[in-house]
């Protein structure tokens, strides 16, 4: 199946996919891991272990009763040496469990493939796996797979649009573990009673598209189709992908399920496929390591909780002093302040930059060129947001539909005056919420 004829506005970004031919290497277990208790949107987990405990691979070490949450498992076998406060990527303080590894990687005895006889079992099993949205949002998957209007949902959309520059981990997954993706689709569609499945992949990954097409045909899955998407940014954004695949407009605040769609990242789906075969919870992550400061850019599978410094060391270390390190891609990733920061579930790339890419460009005056308006997938007017935000005018921001902004950053990317429009949009949204609560 090919894409919709009409497209949302999008931008061209420099792809920089240097690692697309790098076969994934499994990183050896580091000496210590630091596993954050806050690896999903929602309530943080409480530690289930204490200092001195011996833990094994796949053993739950953090959980909570809160509705929006997912348990956290040990990625290594070893001894808990402490429960510490760490500075999170978001800037707050999180609890984290530090484990000194014994390198034996003994697997927890209770790991076995889940038995599923009903949708309830399925949702429970997904929660037990610790799965969260692996595309970056880290929303607990079991909640997503249990919408209130499940009877009205009939379509699965798998997000294989890796539109961020540099990142190739999803691409490598499609080439190296296509069976897990297909298995995951089959399981989710069967358990949730979905009739159609679409795997959206950008046209710059023809090898992955043809491989999946071939396997889907061989295994006789006419209900699952690949959809070739344009290699533009932000093709992988939820609201953009839903439109490009189904033609349905998804406004902010609307859930995919309300449009009859369940949407999952391709890594999330592949994990489901793997999990129902082996029962191994989410303890490792495939990531792309790249950037001008990295000696040997590559794709690796690393234990969750590994520090960025250890990951870079496995990639040959820094070849130049890093000035800026990103968790995620350059468009939506987060800049971290220290390379002690541990890997979390939703990371899909570590990018370390030296020199030019680390410099924040100097802002100059708006020349009213309208490029931000032409770049915005929802035809918003970022330059007008900026003026309204400077005037602290919440009414005007609302009138201009600030809440429709999904913070894709396209406006900042194209701005010839180098204005941080995406950042201003985030501030504006926070400001509008604050004003509404007054």
């Amino acid at each position: 199946m090919s894409q919709q004829k009409k497209h949302l506005q999008s931008i061209r970004v420099s792809h920089e996919k240097h690692t697309s031919a790098c076969e994934t290497q499994v990183m050896p277990v580091p000496d210590t891991v630091c596993i954050s208790m806050s690896q999903h949107i929602g309530a943080p987990c409480k530690p289930l272990v204490k200092k001195g405990d011996y833990v094994k691979v796949g053993q739950p070490i953090g959980d909570t009763d809160a509705f929006v949450s997912a348990p956290i498992h040990s990625s290594v076998s070893g001894t808990v040496t402490g429960i510490e406060g760490i500075r999170s990527v978001m800037g707050g303080e999180d609890q984290a469990i530090v484990i000194e590894t014994d390198k034996k990687q003994e697997v927890w005895e209770e790991i076995k493939p889940p038995e599923v006889n009903s949708r309830e079992d399925f949702v429970k099993a997904i929660r037990a796996s610790g799965l969260v949205g692996l595309g970056g949002a880290s929303f607990p998957t079991h909640i997503k797979y249990n919408p209130q209007n499940i009877d009205e949902v009939d379509t699965l959309i798998v997000n294989g649009a890796e539109c961020e520059p540099f990142i190739t981990s999803d691409h490598r997954l499609m080439l190296e573990n296509p069976q897990e993706i297909i298995d995951g689709c089959v399981i989710v569609m069967e358990q949730l009673g979905l009739k159609e499945g679409y795997i959206g992949i950008e046209e710059n990954k023809q090898d992955a598209i043809s491989l999946l097409n071939k396997m889907l045909a061989e295994q006789n899955h006419p209900e699952i189709k690949t959809v070739t998407l344009r290699a533009r940014y932000p093709q992988g954004a939820e609201r953009v992908l839903v439109y490009e695949v189904t033609g349905k407009t998804m406004n902010a605040g609307v859930l995919p399920a309300q449009l009859g769609v369940i949407l999952s990242n391709i890594t999330t789906i592949a994990f489901v496929g793997q999990y129902f075969k082996t029962g191994r919870p989410l303890t490792t992550k495939r990531i792309t390591v790249d950037g001008s400061a990295v000696t040997e850019p590559k794709n690796i599978i690393a234990p969750i909780g590994t520090s960025i410094a250890d990951i870079i060391a496995f990639c040959g270390g820094y070849k130049a002093e890093p000035k800026k390190i990103l968790m995620g891609g350059p468009m939506m990733g987060r800049a971290i302040f220290s390379d002690r920061t541990p890997l979390v579930k939703n990371n899909n790339a570590i990018l370390a930059f030296a020199g030019a890419q680390a410099i924040i460009p100097e802002e100059t005056g708006c020349i009213n060129c309208g490029k931000c308006h032409k770049a915005c997938p929802f035809k918003l007017l970022p330059t007008a947001f900026a003026t309204a935000y400077e005037n602290k005018d919440a009414d005007r921001l609302n009138q201009l539909q600030i809440m429709q902004c999904m913070e894709c950053g396209s406006c900042s990317y194209v701005c010839p005056a180098r204005r941080p429009l995406g950042f201003i949009n985030k501030l504006s949204k926070a400001f509008v919420k604050e004003e509404a609560n007054k």
């Binding site: 987060r334 220290s338 396209s410």
Partner: protein, 318 residues
């Protein structure tokens, strides 16, 4: 060995990448697009055309640099916008204009119209267009004394009328449409060759620097009006005066034209109507710069109209 950690990394909000098109590159591309018209200007009017253009560029850059230095503002001469204003002023004056008058024009454009309103992006009206109007009203004789273009063939006279002057006041031989298209006519340095300006304009559209909406609506409106009004030649009107220069290079100035597509349509049609009305019914032979100036003034209102139409409070967008 103790591990070395980096704890002092640069933190900023996403995105962490920008496109390679910055303001300097935008302005530079427009300058490149003006090269064909510059070449025709030098061919038709000789070395004086080159001297005027270089003088105007230099004057604009110096005024901008001085103003920024005096006001202790960040230097903005590097963004090439002052250089572009200089070229556009030169293109809007006759090659024979006394140099000091050109410099007065540059002062008006850079200091009065642009910097006193806050510098790049803050001006309400197009600096070059306004400078032209100020010069035109202040130095009416010098601004309407046109050197004979080389392409018009040998003649004893040193000055002659422009086609629009002939249309307005009579006297003289009207050039053929082909001569007007190529630029073998009297006029300002950069406005004579419709062909050269068209090449530059299409280049800008191809490079994505300008949207075709304003030029198409502007030129289309003039064309249609000339078609409707008896006794007017549409092709003549398209090639005459500063229309091509105005439509592609002055009316499309980002700062002083609307941002939304609908606004650009309104702006372009407005420019077209005003130009035609002034040319045919007004006291002045040429109306492009007045039309653009008047529509510049309306631009904030056009933008307001279009945004409130596009983003209705409470309702969804289209």
């Amino acid at each position: 060995m103790e591990k070395q950690y980096y704890d002092n990394l640069v933190v900023s909000s996403a995105p962490h990448a920008v496109s390679n098109v910055d303001t300097t590159k935008v302005m530079g591309t427009v300058l490149v697009a003006l090269v064909p018209a510059f070449a025709v200007g030098i061919y038709q009017f000789g070395y004086k055309a080159a001297v005027q253009t270089i003088l105007c560029i230099a004057a604009c850059i110096v005024f901008e640099w001085l103003f920024n230095a005096l006001m202790k503002r960040k230097q903005t001469v590097g963004d090439l916008s002052a250089a572009l204003t200089g070229v556009l002023i030169a293109f809007n004056i006759p090659a024979s204009l006394p140099y000091w008058m050109s410099i007065v024009g540059c002062f008006v454009a850079i200091v009065i119209v642009k910097q006193l309103f806050g510098g790049i992006g803050q001006n309400l009206v197009n600096p070059a267009v306004t400078a032209r109007i100020v010069l035109f009203i202040s130095f009416a004789t010098e601004m309407t004394t046109w050197p004979i273009p080389r392409g018009a063939g040998a003649t004893d006279a040193t000055t002659g009328p422009t086609p629009l002057g002939i249309l307005s006041e009579g006297g003289g031989q009207m050039p053929s449409n082909l001569d007007m298209f190529l630029g073998n006519i009297g006029g300002c340095i950069g406005e004579v060759s419709a062909l050269a300006l068209l090449i530059g304009g299409i280049f800008l559209i191809w490079r994505g620097i300008i949207s075709p909406i304003i030029p198409v609506c502007f030129l289309g409106t003039v064309f249609v009006l000339a078609l409707i009004v008896p006794g007017q030649d549409p092709i003549f009107h398209l090639c005459a005066g500063g229309l091509m220069l105005g439509a592609f290079f002055c009316a499309t100035d980002y700062v002083t034209s609307p941002i939304m597509p609908l606004g650009k349509v309104i702006f372009g049609i407005g420019c077209g109507i005003l130009t035609f009305v002034i040319r045919v019914y007004g006291a002045y032979p040429e109306g492009v710069s007045f039309a653009i100036l008047l529509m510049n003034i309306l631009t904030p209102h056009i933008d307001n109209f279009c945004t409130s139409r596009a983003y209705k409070k409470g309702g969804g967008k289209e």
